[in-house]
């Protein structure tokens, strides 16, 4: 874990939720019914980033439903690159992509950024296509 991420983790743990508020906020932001998930694991089976994740996508849903707010410290929500594979395959038609976005937004909207722009080396700023930067900033900076 980098220094920056540790700092984020500390700030994230300060976010306060009353009982049952987390799932409510996720449902409002995503427009999805998390209680519709029956934990079949199809999302996790098809996810291209799953080997780097600390929580599987279906576990993220379960954590939110069970009001376990440490889910906000999970690396999984930042690894999701919105490729929509899980949303396409979910037999319960739950858009998990939107749930991941909602969890990121809960953090970003409290003025906690995941990415520090100044830490990106200058050389890379010149060689990597702009669309990568725009999408990174849209996803990781509030």
């Amino acid at each position: 874990m980098t220094k920056n991420q540790a700092l984020n983790t500390r700030e994230i743990s300060k976010i306060v939720f009353k009982k049952g508020e987390l799932v409510k906020e996720v449902e409002e932001l995503s427009g999805e019914n998390l209680f519709g998930c029956y934990q079949c694991g199809t999302c996790s089976a098809g996810c291209p980033f799953v080997e780097d994740m600390d929580l599987l996508p279906d576990e993220v849903i379960r954590y939110v439903v069970l009001d376990r707010r440490e889910v906000l410290n999970s690396k999984t929500i930042w690894l999701c690159a919105s490729c929509y594979t899980c949303a396409e395959r979910c037999p319960r038609d739950i858009n998990i992509t939107k749930i991941m976005e909602a969890l990121r937004q809960i953090i970003l909207r409290r003025k906690i950024d995941y990415t520090d722009v100044l830490k990106i080396p200058k050389k890379e700023r010149e060689t990597i296509p702009q669309l990568a930067f725009v999408s990174l900033f849209r996803k990781n900076i509030g």
């Binding site: 995503s30 690159a81 949303a87 939107k98 990415t115 890379e124 702009q130 669309l131 990568a132």
Partner: protein, 300 residues
Amino acid sequence: MQKRILYYPGCTLKTTAKNLEKTAYAIMQALGYELVEMHDWNCCGVVASLTTDDLMHHLAPLRNLIHVEDQGEDKVVVLCDMCCNTLKQTNLRVKENPDDLKTLNAFMDRENDYKGTVKVYHFLEFLRDEIGFDVIKKMVKKPLHDMRIMPYYGCMLLRPREVAIDDAEDPQILSDLLTILGAEVIDNPFKIECCGSYHTIEEKQLVSRRAYRITSYAVERGADAIMLSCPLCHFNLDVRGKEAEKLFKGYKQIPIYYYTQLISVALGLDPSVYGFDQHMVDPTLLLKKKGVLHTRKIEI
């Protein structure tokens, strides 16, 4: 008279993907169309807004759609997969939610109201549906015989399904294109898997591993090269794929082509538009070996 069609470029087509733009222009000219860059375009935002209450991020794509209407057109062609996906998703959202459109129109008080008349095409979609692959087939001068190529779709052409240009699990559009160009299609289940997208900035090794997994499977099945359409997938497979050579012993990255480049080669268009110098893995060696790369323009 040449038929005119409006074109939305987006940021990357002007820098790391100039070759994609140049070859698309050349193809349209050869087909008797004039590709006209729309004026006064802005960034589309790259990723679509995914939360229910976030209308702010629909402003940028919507402004582009308004400007298409202002220029008296109802069709716009997009080359970048991510721009195309974002524009299509905003277009769909405002068409399905008139209240959202009302709010957005009211917010942009200096712009005309969006009337919802624009159809956004991906360039591939335009070639298939409006021009027809059979038309391109008749114009092939140098078929890509003996080239075994794996089509790679990535995410943004296929998902979410409301804005997809082909089937999400078993797309055919790029294989169809390769077949009419005379190449042999190598199928691969990884053709629809994400390349790693924007993680290329902060998680380079992760993207290199993605590139390795996609490419090595293609090579195992006998592919000489990969053909794709998205500028970000191209960067990730070409550049991060090359870097994967250091991570995996004995691994060698194969060339990555844009579909527009291979069409241009097969149609015998002016080699100065190919833009192979922008690649990390030299794409010319394979074409020379297969005898399809020419240095002079073939007279049509």
